[in-house]
């Protein structure tokens, strides 16, 4: 099935000729979005707020690890490009029991934003190309690729399995 989230990220990587490590914050800025880092003591990871003129702010929890922040910023750009209409999106909010249904409803959007972020930060073509050059052992490769793409090892491990390049460990 054609996936519009992945397609949109691919298009962005191509049109801007992005090469790993993708300068995600600069990319976000080109859409009139500003990145604001703000401490939050809790589960909130990031947010997107749109002004009426379609510019906006991407807020990131500055207490989170730098690599997680990178992924969160890419995730919010995914929301921005794929999910128009909502002025405010906050990710990582722990919802209470009563709101379980409403959080379920937005789950497809979360999956899309994650797929977008993965393709933007770890473009499949570039992961494949780099993967061929370091195939000595899988754990070692995860580490090398994570540093090339400037993502966490967990994100890269998941990506490699997802692209069928590694087996599920």
């Amino acid at each position: 099935m054609a996936n519009r989230a992945i397609a949109r990220a691919k298009q962005l990587v191509e049109s801007k000729a992005l090469v790993a490590p993708v300068p995600v914050e600069a990319v976000v800025n080109t859409f009139g979005l500003q990145v604001v880092r703000q401490k939050f003591d809790g589960s909130v990871s990031a947010m997107l707020y749109r002004y009426e003129d379609s510019s906006g702010v991407v807020g990131v929890n500055s207490t989170h690890h730098r690599l997680r922040q990178r992924f969160s910023i890419a995730h919010e750009l995914g929301h921005y490009l794929l999910h128009p209409g909502r002025p405010l999106i906050v990710d990582g909010v722990r919802v209470s029991f009563r709101n379980e249904e409403s959080s379920m409803a937005t789950q497809p959007e979360e999956i899309e934003a994650n797929q977008f972020a993965a393709e933007l930060l770890m473009p499949s073509d570039q992961v494949r190309a780099n993967s061929l050059t370091h195939f000595d052992n899988e754990a070692h490769e995860v580490q090398k690729l994570a540093s090339i793409f400037d993502v966490s090892k967990d994100a890269m491990r998941f990506r490699l399995v997802n692209l069928g390049l590694h087996s599920v460990a």
Binding site: V36, F40, V44, V57, G59, L88, V90, V93, V95, S102
Partner: protein, 112 residues
């Protein structure tokens, strides 16, 4: 109060508290200037008590700030309400923190 009124009271209360601390006033001091009890100030700052427009202006005056500085951004509040994080006891305290964080981010974004 309906959920929007709760969200407004909560946001305004938080802004009043922040401004009061900045002015180095105690709750008791503010209470004295606006002619209410300290408990009333506690409730207003906690968003547990709606206030009249006249009282709001009196508070802004006491805190030596423009009334607009104490007013929340309506679309931020609407967004928070749509997330359902203001509407029940389970999530109220967490909701207030999130609301503060979101508003701080938006304010920084605007000023920067």
């Amino acid at each position: 109060m309906d959920e929007f009124e709760v969200a407004v009271a909560s946001a305004v209360g938080a802004d009043i508290a922040k401004r009061r601390v900045k002015q180095e006033l105690r709750q008791q001091d503010l209470a004295g200037v606006i002619g209410r009890s300290r408990t009333a100030v506690v409730n207003i700052e906690a968003g547990q008590q709606g206030i009249s427009l006249a009282m709001f202006l009196r508070i802004a005056d006491a805190l030596e700030c423009e009334p607009a500085e104490l007013l929340p951004d309506q679309s931020v509040l609407q967004g928070l309400i749509s997330l359902g994080i203001q509407d029940d006891d389970l999530s109220l305290s967490h909701g207030r923190d999130v609301s503060e964080w979101v508003r701080a981010v938006v304010a920084k974004g605007r000023n920067g």
